[in-house]
Point group: none
Chain length 246, copies 2
């Protein structure tokens, strides 16, 4: 179940709009505001939301953090500063995994632009979520901070199709036979062009050229395309046009 995002004392409508947009980008739709400085609704939020409110993000306003989390079973507090509190600490992926694995009504609390979450609000959370930031430049924009969690939630949801090796999205490599025929075609033409010289270096030159091609895991279509290219180069303009028809 997707968690809600709770912004505690947010100041800028622009940030609220940006949070709504990135929430919906990654499938979250329950946005809760605790005591927004400029009230709600706030027209400054709309341009940055890019239609997220109309497309499904529901906003609810609360007076206190306690009220905003009343119905939740699992609460994370996002904070960069150490709090000296005895709570588990997770990063963004760890937080998303925790929410996912518990299957409970969960929420993630983010503090306002000027001062972050008050300690008593952090104290209401089950766990602290913190990102490994550059200590010399640690202050994230509020919408970016929420976006990092939302993207991690999306990544955890999408993990079935997650990156495994490297060939996802790439077609089947051509059978080695076709690659070898391509090499022989290329090498024949290079031979005819007088490229292999001196003779005792020829095997090494061939191996060097083959290695680069083999590493590319060419598909059969790529092999065919490139054989057409070899033919064109070897034969030259006029004949190439005729040959290409075959």
């Amino acid at each position: 179940m997707a968690p809600c995002i709770i912004l505690h004392s947010p100041q800028l409508g622009e940030n609220i709009g940006s949070v709504a947009r990135v929430m919906l980008n990654f499938g979250l739709a329950d946005l809760r505001l605790v005591a927004p400085r400029d009230g709600w609704p706030n027209p400054a939020a709309d341009p940055l939301a890019a239609g997220a409110f109309e497309a499904g993000v529901a906003v609810t306003v609360f007076d206190t953090a306690e009220a905003a989390i009343a119905d939740l079973q699992l609460v994370l507090a996002a904070t960069a500063r150490p709090r000296g509190m005895e709570k588990p600490v997770v990063d963004a992926i760890g937080g998303a995994e925790l929410v996912q694995s518990r299957g409970q009504r969960a929420g993630v609390l983010f503090g306002g632009e000027s001062s972050g979450l008050p300690s008593d609000v952090v104290g209401l959370a089950d766990a602290i979520m913190t990102y490994p930031v550059n200590p010399a430049f640690a202050s994230l924009n509020l919408a970016q901070a929420a976006g990092v969690f939302c993207a991690s939630w999306g990544a955890v949801q999408g993990r079935q199709g997650r990156f495994e090796g490297t060939n996802e999205g790439v077609g089947e490599p051509a059978p080695r036979e076709d690659l070898i025929r391509m090499f022989e075609h290329l090498e024949d033409e290079l031979e005819r062009a007088g490229y292999f010289h001196p003779p005792d270096k020829t095997p090494l030159m061939k191996t060097n050229i083959r290695n680069g091609f083999i590493r590319g895991n060419w598909t059969l279509q790529e092999v065919r395309t490139f054989r057409g290219a070899i033919k064109a180069l070897a034969i030259g303009r006029g004949k190439a046009r005729t040959q290409r028809e075959d």
Copy 2:
């Protein structure tokens, strides 16, 4: 080595500033702009950058994507749309792990606000990076898109080396600049040979040929060898022997 972030045709200075801030939050400092709509420097970037430029983010402006990636060895293209290209696909964590494990000069390309990355620019990349987004609300804000990668980079730094696939036994990949020159050389010769036909299919044919080569992570030596081969094929026996001496 932290990768650079490359924004292709960015429009809003605000987004450029936001990208700089979130980069530095997670330890990235090399920001490259390709043809920014409003030029550079852009005063609209400063409030959102929150001091990131003064604190270490260096901005360089380029006319073309080719120039912006010339010195890189590994290039990721962030895109939400499937491109029908034969390239590996990674998510944000997968992309950060790839950069980390290769230990190469790497960059991540992001498209501008209105239309994302053009296909020919995606074609220059080694891999496509895509996030598992809500298909009903898939368009991320540019700064959020960059932020998701930067946070993933930070998360991967915060762990210890995990990646399995290595390039053991293979030399350093050639800088992208040398690969691009090799493509241009090959394409010029193919053009002269009348290979590209019909004209409206030419960009796709070029991208298909480039993709296979890019996947091979060719070393500089392999690039040089193959340029000699192109030359030999194009020029033919007698002249090839002369040319090879240079």
